[in-house]
């Protein structure tokens, strides 16, 4: 269970998202055809219902958390994150973004090999020799299955192309 303060914040964030949806996202990013036969058939009708319900649920979450007695600390799950944990998660995020950009350039096989080893290093780098063996074999096996058997055009990249 989260702390009462965190639950209130979560409720308020959902409420604000609902308001943002109703006031900014739907008016600007839902295109409306020139003629709408029925209001219920309009493309904005359903998103509006969802937005209104999000506002309601977010408000109820915040109000419920406000009126609920605080949870004892031993039963509360903290959202606090230590510095090494934050660094590892931030490193993973960067790694995943880099992977996404490298896929069409380096090719899927080479990119995933590097990502594999980088991820093992991020979590302490134990069994590095095994990690390198698996990092090389697994993408190659998957490449053979998807490219040769299933006929999927796995991105090859601009540098080293596989047969």
């Amino acid at each position: 269970m989260l702390a009462r303060r965190d639950e209130i914040i979560v409720g308020i964030v959902i409420l604000c998202f609902g308001v943002l949806l109703l006031t900014v996202l739907i008016p600007n990013y839902v295109e409306v055809p020139r003629r709408v036969r029925l209001l219920a058939l309009a493309p904005y009708f359903w998103p509006n219902i969802i937005g209104a319900l999000l506002v309601l649920c977010g408000g109820l979450l915040a109000v419920r958390a406000y009126f609920t007695p605080p949870t004892p600390p031993e039963q509360t799950e903290s959202l606090a994150i230590s510095q090494p944990e934050a660094l590892r998660l931030a490193g993973t995020l960067l790694l995943l973004v880099a992977t996404l950009f490298a896929l069409p350039r380096l090719g899927m096989v080479w990119t995933t090999m590097i990502t594999f080893v980088a991820m093992v290093l991020l979590t302490g780098g134990k069994r590095l020799v095994w990690a390198i063996v698996v990092a090389v074999l697994l993408p190659l096996v998957l490449y053979i299955f998807f490219y040769k058997i299933a006929g999927v055009a796995i991105p090859q990249g601009r540098f080293v192309r596989l047969p």
Binding site: P33, L41, G58, M108, V134
Partner: protein, 511 residues
């Protein structure tokens, strides 16, 4: 096509070596994945899904069903041997399974878990065969308003029982519905929330969303806190089960199977509540009730029967109504969609041979599970030793290849990564992922049925309360909301009382 023709054609589909081989392979993958601490049956089914693209519909779907069945049983192996349940539902198995393993009777516990799983699975498959066709025939009478109210009812239950709070489940479902609106609106032909990206015009890919939501959060959790598995694998010991031990547990197995069938056929309930209910009913009725929790073999049998009894029954709403009952069946719906099949009443009319082939394959899976499970129990030591710092990067590589293979799209890989972050945030903030995914799948259908109803009634909302079926579904929705709110309030009351009793008495400052 008559029943006999459909049955014969279905048998011919299953009787090919590929069908049986892929079913067996699926069970083996599922058992191994379920047995690996940190993996789950859901993750295994999600990761296997992309490999079914290149297969025939029947072999692909049987492979996934095999992974599902094997995964549910596989979860019991680490629950018994290292007290680390592979699936949430296996937690009930650990209650008596691990004490048995401590007493040197792990082999007996695993044998009982295997027999109970196979029997419950068989009973559940029979229930599916008997009920699904009848329900599908009944559902042929459903029009758009009936389907709309049925989906509202299903989403309400799934939102209510998937997490700790109905409100959080509802918010998760609303986000799933919102995400389902992304793409081109099929009535007006206009774009919704595409932000000018042509990749988003066809909507977000369902498989990218589900793999991101269910596989990646586990990877983030591992990276945040990379722990090695603790504790030793217990020795198997004697695994021979006597006739008396089996007979003594048979009643609990059959009762657990019935509980599993009942709870599995209601969308959203899932295996964990069924396993715990079966376990508590067995403890209430057993002459050995004082041994429960200390290593009672009947406890293992009851928990596993309740757990596996849902496996066939969750397919009842999927096949007959097109409503996925839980996350795994929501993933299996993807396999149908990949091959251009739509689960629901019309599946029984248009693809009766495939439906009967699935039924026959499911019965065969109960028998195959018995053999594959026997070997898996003995080979667990090798599976348990897979280090998590090699396992999770492997899962990520599988996710990237699998998601790309759906549409040859790197955009889908990006969607998966974003969904992984969203799934991890939901995990931290205690929002259940199941209502999100199921609402995302059912969202287009819900909106479609709503609009069809509005067209039929020319905008009059009373179409949703005109027929008896819609009124029944509204009543069921209201009843389920009332029951969920009442149980939440009762749990909060108990927590408050516990807090009061655990607080030290106040001492007066004036005294």
């Amino acid at each position: 096509m008559s029943f006999f023709d459909a049955f014969v054609q279905g048998f011919a589909l299953v009787a090919q070596w590929e069908s049986l081989a892929f079913l067996a392979l699926g069970i083996a993958i599922g058992v191994v994945a379920g047995a690996i601490p940190g993996m789950s049956a859901t993750m295994a089914v999600a990761l296997t899904l992309p490999f079914t693209f290149a297969m025939q519909p029947i072999t692909g779907i049987l492979l996934l069903l095999g992974v599902y069945k094997g995964g549910i049983f596989g979860g019991s192996i680490p629950a018994i041997l290292i007290k680390t349940p592979g699936t949430p539902a296996s937690s009930a198995t650990a209650l008596d399974g691990y004490p048995m393993a401590e007493q040197g009777k792990a082999g007996k516990a695993l044998s009982m878990a295997l027999y109970a799983s196979c029997i419950a699975d068989f009973v559940s498959n029979l229930a599916l065969i008997l009920v699904a066709g009848w329900l599908a025939a009944f559902a042929l009478n459903f029009g758009p308003p009936e389907f709309f109210t049925l989906i509202v009812f299903s989403l309400t239950i799934i939102a209510g029982v998937s997490g700790d709070s109905l409100l959080k489940g509802a918010v998760a479902a609303l986000f799933g519905l919102l995400l389902a609106t992304v793409g081109m609106d099929f009535i007006g032909g206009t774009n919704r929330f595409t932000f000018g990206s042509p990749d988003m015009m066809a909507g977000l890919n369902f498989i990218a969303v589900l793999i991101g939501l269910f596989a990646l959060p586990e990877i983030f959790s591992h990276i945040r806190n990379p722990k090695e598995r603790e504790g030793n694998v217990r020795k198997l010991g004697d695994s021979h089960l006597t006739r008396e031990e089996f007979r003594g547990s048979l009643k609990s197995i059959l009762r657990g199977s019935a509980i599993g069938v009942f709870m599995g056929s209601i969308p959203g309930i899932g295996a964990a509540p069924s396993a715990f209910l079966s376990y508590s009913e067995a403890r209430r009725a057993s002459p050995n009730r004082e041994n429960f929790g200390k290593g009672e073999i009947e406890g293992v049998a009851a928990a596993e029967a309740g757990n596996n009894g849902v496996a066939g029954a969750t397919l009842i709403p999927l096949l007959s109504l097109g409503i996925p009952g839980d996350v795994i069946t929501a993933i299996i719906i993807g396999a149908f969609m990949i091959h251009g099949l739509t689960p629901g009443p019309l599946l029984f009319t248009n693809h009766a041979d495939l439906v009967y082939a699935l039924f026959i394959g499911l019965i065969a899976s109960s028998v195959l599970l018995l053999f594959i499970g026997w070997f898996a129990v003995r080979g667990f030591r090798y599976v348990a030793d897979i280090p998590s710092n090699l396992l999770f990067p492997s899962v990520l590589v599988l996710c990237i290849f699998g998601v790309f293979a759906i549409n040859n799209s790197i955009f889908d890989v990006g969607v998966m990564l974003v969904m992984g972050l969203l799934g991890y945030a939901m995990l931290l903030l205690k929002f259940p992922a199941a209502p999100f995914l199921i609402a995302f799948i059912l969202g287009p259908l819900l909106e479609d049925k709503f609009r069809q109803s509005m067209l039929m009634s020319r905008g009059e909302l009373d179409i949703f309360v005109r027929g008896p079926i819609t009124i029944i579904f509204w009543c069921l929705t209201v009843i389920s909301v009332v029951l969920i709110v009442r149980s939440t309030m009762a749990a909060a009351r108990i927590r408050r009382q516990q807090r009061r009793t655990s607080m030290p008495p106040r001492t007066g400052t004036n005294g």
